[in-house]
């Protein structure tokens, strides 16, 4: 991995939204987060949150069921985030 960060990706800050059980677990409904990764993907964002330790590492651990939505669309871990994106963490849904 190169040490230098591509200039086009510097300063990517996203608006996180935590829903339902995850909002309770994290004690907040959302936050603004500056991404630290050279390639700010959804997966890198999840890893950055997990690095905070408990409860993040517990709730977002591999194998825990949750989805990520970027600007209201469900997104895979490979999706690259852009500055100002709304990124929501969704527990398994239980409507209907």
């Amino acid at each position: 991995m190169p040490d230098s960060v591509p200039s086009s990706l510097v300063g990517v800050t996203v608006n996180l939204v935590y829903l339902a059980r995850l909002r309770e677990a994290f004690g907040r409904s959302g936050e603004r987060l500056a991404l630290g990764s050279a390639l700010p993907t959804v997966g890198a964002l999840v890893a950055q949150l997990c690095a905070r330790g408990d409860p993040w590492s517990r709730e977002l651990a591999p194998g825990r069921a949750f989805r990520v939505a970027v600007n209201h669309e469900v997104a895979g871990r490979e999706v690259v985030l852009r500055d100002g994106d709304e990124v929501a963490l969704l527990p398994p849904v239980t409507g209907g």
């Binding site: 829903l19 059980r21 939505a69 669309e73 929501a88 969704l90 398994p92 409507g95 209907g96």
Partner: protein, 150 residues
């Protein structure tokens, strides 16, 4: 608007009559109403709060209705889903579909409900005698949605 999120109760008869309107092509109307039970996972349910993700919920439901239109030969469809505080016997959701013949109406109605259960961002929180708890997703819901895979 084929999709509505509301804290208010709905009158299914009135909603279905409005959906049918004066469309003379309609020969079948299928509908489903989901309601709050007083027992879930062997615990008494005293009350329920339904939470959603405003903005995404509407888009997700509209996408499900669009997919139903693409898969089934239907004339119109309606989804009403309530949010907020509910109690046992309250109505939660109404799905209604019109078509020329019953098969397409039945199938589209069930398809919309199966996809709603697994794709629309709603979450139920139950009040039980032991306290409040988030309802767990069911594997059977995923299996029901998977039946519709092309």
């Amino acid at each position: 608007m084929p999709v509505r999120i509301t804290e208010d109760d709905f009158d299914a008869g009135r909603e279905i009559a409005a959906l049918r309107g004066i469309d003379r092509r309609v020969g079948a109307v299928a509908s489903f109403i989901g309601t709050v039970r007083d027992v879930n996972d062997e615990a008494q349910v005293l009350a329920m709060t339904l939470e959603h993700y405003p903005g995404m919920t509407e888009k997700a439901l509209e996408a499900i209705v669009e997919e139903a239109r693409g898969r089934f030969d239907i004339l119109d469809a309606l989804v009403i889903h309530r949010v907020g505080d509910l109690k046992p016997t309250d109505q939660i959701v109404l799905v209604a579909v019109t078509s020329a013949h019953r098969g397409e109406a039945f199938d589209a109605c069930r398809f919309i409900m199966d996809y709603l259960k697994t794709r629309a961002p709603f979450w139920k929180r139950e009040q039980t005698p032991a306290g409040a708890r988030w309802v767990d997703a069911r594997a059977s819901d995923d299996e029901a949605a998977a039946r519709w895979k092309p």
